[in-house]
Point group: C2
Chain length 240, copies 2
DNA sequence: AACACCGAAACATCCGAGGTCTGTTGCAGG
DNA sequence: CCTGCAACAGACCTCGGATGTTTCGGTGTT
C-alpha cells in the first residue's frame, strides 16, 4: 500500500482514537511527516484528501486543524460525489429521496418549533407570482431544507440536502416551469406547511410523498419516454 | 483558491462534461500538470483526493483512470466518512437506517428474483447454533446487503451498506449477544425472509421496521436514555 | 488606548532526482 | 507457429530542499 494511504489511515486512527479531537491542531507538516515516517510531499497528499471530505481544514499561515466532524460537514462531502451522477442514475437518487423526504416531513410535524414553522410560512409568502427560475430553485431548496432540519436529525437533514443538491434540481425545475406546474407545486408546498403547522405527521407525510412522487413521475416521463431530450411527448405526467 | 482545489474542479468538470468518460485514462502526470498549469506535486494532491472518493483509480506503472463512477463505488466512500462518527451520532444514523431499511425490504419483496430469494434462505441456514461474534456479524451484514441489493436501486443499496457498515455493527452485536437476543434476531430475519418469499411487501416492511427498531431501542437504552427527552423512558427495551 | 509595522511560523507551490511497478516487445526454444 | 523468458520503456511513487504567501502576535509610534 502506498505510504500516502498509510498516512491517511494513521491520521484517521489518530482522530477516531481520540488522540486528535475536533478542533485540535495537527503537528506541523515537517514534524508530522517525520513522525509518520514519510516525506512532506506524501503527507500533503494525505492531508489534501482528508481535506476534500471535510475531515481536516488547513489554513495557510496558521496550521492544519481537525474540523468539527459534525454530520452536516461530513455528509456535505457527498454533494461532491452526487455531482458525478447526472442523467443515468438521477431516478435512483430521487427514489431514495422519495423514501426519506416523507419521513423527514412527518418528523418535522412532530419536532419543529412554532418559531421555525412560522419561518416556513414566511418562506412560502416570499415567492412572487412570476418568479425567475433561480428564485424558484432557491426558495424550493430552502423550504425543503428547513423541513429536513426540523426533523431534528442532522444526519437525515444532511443526507436530504445532498440528494436534492443544487445540481440536479435546476434542470428539473426548468422543465417543470415550462409546463406551468409552478402553481401545483406551490399548492403542495402550502399543503405540507399547513399539515406541519397543524401537527399532523401522517398528513404531512402523505403530502410530501405526493410532492416527491410528482416530480419523480414527471422526470420519469421526461427522460423515460425516449433518450431524445427534445421529445416532450405526453405533457400529462406530473400528478393527478 | 489554492491551485490544487482548482485542479480538482477542473478534473471534475472534465469528467462531468464527458471529456473524460468512465474507464478513460488520464493524460500522464507531467502532461496533465502542464495543461492545467501547475506542478506535478500539486496535481498529485488533487489526484489523491479524487482517489479517496473513488472517482479516480491510479495504477502504478500503468496510468490513472476514471473509475466506473457507479453509485456503489462512489457511495462507498461514505463508509469512510461514517467511520468518523461513533458514539454521539450513531443513533441519528440508525434512525435513517430505520427509514431506509423497511422501504428497501418492501421493494425487495417486489423485485427480488426467485434465485436470489433462495440464496437468502441459504444464508439463514448457514448460521450455526452458537456462532462466533465474527460469523454473526458477517452473516447479518450479508443478509441485509442481499435484501438491499434486491431492492433494485443501487443507490439505496450502497447507502444502506454505508450506514450499517462494519464499524458500528460489531459493538452492537457484542452487546446483543451478551443479552442472548441472538435467537430473537434470527426469528426476525426468518420472518423477513418468509415475507419476501411470499411476495408480501407490506409484511416485509413491517418486519424490517420491527427488526431495526429493536436494535435502535436496545442501543438507546445501552447508551443512556437521557439523550432524547421525547423518547419514552420505558425500560421496555428490546428483548422479551 | 489605538493603530501601523515587522518578523516568526506555517502552509503553498514548485522542481528535479532517484526508485518501483507494469505492460510490451523481441528473441530463443519447442 | 506457438510459448516462455528477459530486457526495455513508460508511468506512477517518494523524497528533500528552495522559494513564495498568508496569518498571527509582538513592538513601537501616535
Amino acid at each position: 500500500m502506498p505510504v500516502t494511504d498509510v498516512a491517511i489511515d494513521k491520521i484517521k486512527d489518530m482522530i477516531i482514537s481520540g488522540e486528535l479531537a475536533p478542533g485540535d491542531r495537527l503537528p506541523k507538516e515537517a514534524e508530522l511527516a517525520q513522525r509518520l515516517g514519510l516525506s512532506r510531499s506524501s503527507l500533503r497528499e494525505a492531508v489534501k484528501a482528508l481535506c476534500l471530505i471535510r475531515v481536516l481544514d488547513v489554513r495557510q499561515g496558521d496550521g492544519t486543524y481537525v474540523t468539527s466532524l459534525e454530520p452536516n460537514l461530513l455528509l456535505d462531502a457527498m454533494t461532491f460525489v452526487v455531482d458525478f451522477h447526472r442523467d443515468d442514475t438521477v431516478l435512483d437518487f430521487l427514489a431514495v429521496r422519495r423514501i426519506l423526504e416523507p419521513a423527514a416531513t412527518a418528523l418535522a410535524a412532530l419536532h419543529m418549533s412554532d418559531a421555525d414553522i412560522a419561518e416556513l410560512g414566511t418562506l412560502l409568502g416570499e415567492l412572487e407570482d412570476s418568479p425567475t427560475v433561480e428564485a424558484l430553485v432557491a426558495n424550493d431548496l430552502q423550504f425543503h431544507r428547513k423541513i429536513a432540519d426540523g426533523s431534528g436529525n442532522p444526519v437525515l437533514c444532511s443526507l436530504l440536502d445532498s440528494l436534492s443538491g443544487p445540481t440536479a434540481r435546476a434542470r428539473i425545475w426548468r422543465g417543470l416551469t415550462q409546463e406551468g406546474a409552478v402553481a401545483k407545486t406551490r399548492e403542495q408546498h402550502t399543503a405540507i406547511y399547513e399539515a406541519i403547522a397543524a401537527r399532523e405527521p401522517e398528513l404531512a407525510r402523505s403530502w410530501a410523498t405526493v410532492h416527491v412522487a410528482g416530480v419523480e413521475q414527471w422526470l420519469r416521463n421526461a427522460l423515460g419516454t425516449a433518450d431524445d431530450p427534445t421529445a416532450d411527448a405526453e405533457p400529462a405526467a406530473e400528478a393527478s
